[in-house]
């Protein structure tokens, strides 16, 4: 059991996160900027790891740019975007976990846990079932 759609969604989600953190990092300073860069590197690492699970060159390619669901023009909006991206990725990885087994599933759970943790570190409230609450 291994859902190519869920793998592709995770790769695309990571591409979106990498793009978002480029913007987020540019709007932050000092400690928060360092935290954004750490998150960026973590997402790049997961992107490569998940893409390697896809056969051949079937992994989706990143978009040139992504829409943000809010204007991101200052540090506050950048942090809100970081929370949103991380919480949305939790759901993407929960979907992936549900469609694979063994080590891949363990990786998906770990990735979801890292994303939920980063969302809280960025100031989002913890949730029983972490997801982007701006869309509920």
């Amino acid at each position: 059991m291994n859902n190519p759609e869920a793998l592709a969604a995770a790769v695309s989600g990571e591409d979106a996160a990498i793009y978002a953190y480029g913007v987020i990092g540019a709007l932050l300073n000092a400690g928060p900027r360092r935290r954004a860069l750490e998150a960026l590197r973590a997402h790049q690492s997961w992107r490569e790891r998940i893409a390697q699970l896809m056969p051949g060159d079937t992994a989706p390619t990143p978009a040139i740019a992504y829409d943000f669901p809010m204007q991101v023009i200052d540090a506050g909006a950048a942090i809100a975007l970081a929370q949103l991206v991380e919480n949305r990725l939790v759901v993407v990885y929960a979907d992936l976990a549900a469609t694979c087994e063994g080590e891949r599933r363990a990786d998906a759970v770990l990735a979801a846990s890292e994303c939920a943790t980063r969302a809280v570190v960025w100031g989002a409230p913890s949730q029983a079932f972490p997801h982007d609450t701006t869309s509920t």
């Binding site: 979106a16 943000f68 759901v91 809280v120």
Partner: protein, 171 residues
């Protein structure tokens, strides 16, 4: 690059826990952010029943959640000043327990450490252990919806460790 995305349809908690990979469509296009110019959503409507399978895994998770609830309850009782910080986490464990659909007995009373910071550290350790146990439970579960639920719970409990670090730093 447009800065404003398309409206995102509301997502109920039940949908969150039961939707299959069609959920990516709820989040439009890339699943996290929509690519500029993509404009497409692919919601499949592939919604399964909120099934919970794997009776033994259920009992294991429920027993662990009950123990966490007891630990939070006793800690809040001993340190009522922590109520605003800890009660939301306690409620989330109650939601985790409810998601298992299993009733398990309360564990024996165990008083928390007498020092506040040590008590918070004990909670943090319990959350870390729980997150790791939930990850193991994920590997034992077979029903995809239950795996998804356990993934959310593992992620929630991992995030509780970060939340408790903030609580500790504020004391």
């Amino acid at each position: 690059m447009p800065l404003t995305g398309q409206p995102i349809p509301p997502l109920t908690r039940r949908q969150l826990l039961t939707r299959s990979t069609g959920l990516a469509g709820v989040f439009a296009g890339a699943g996290v952010l929509s690519a500029c110019g993509s404009g497409a959503t692919t919601a499949s409507g592939n919604e399964a029943s909120p099934a919970i399978s794997g009776a033994q895994v259920n009992v294991t998770v429920a027993t662990s959640e009950r123990a966490l609830i007891a630990q939070y309850t006793s800690t809040i009782s001993a340190f009522p000043q922590l109520t605003p910080s800890l009660e939301p986490l306690l409620r989330q464990h109650e939601e985790h327990l409810a998601a298992t659909g299993v009733e398990v007995p309360d564990p024996p009373d165990q008083p928390p450490p007498s020092e506040l910071l040590v008590a918070i550290a004990a909670l943090s350790q319990a959350e870390l252990t729980a997150a790791l146990e939930r990850r193991e439970s994920c590997l034992l579960a077979s029903d995809p919806d239950f795996v998804r639920t356990l993934t959310f719970i593992a992620a929630s409990e991992a995030s509780h460790v970060a939340a408790l670090k903030t609580v500790r730093q504020s004391q």
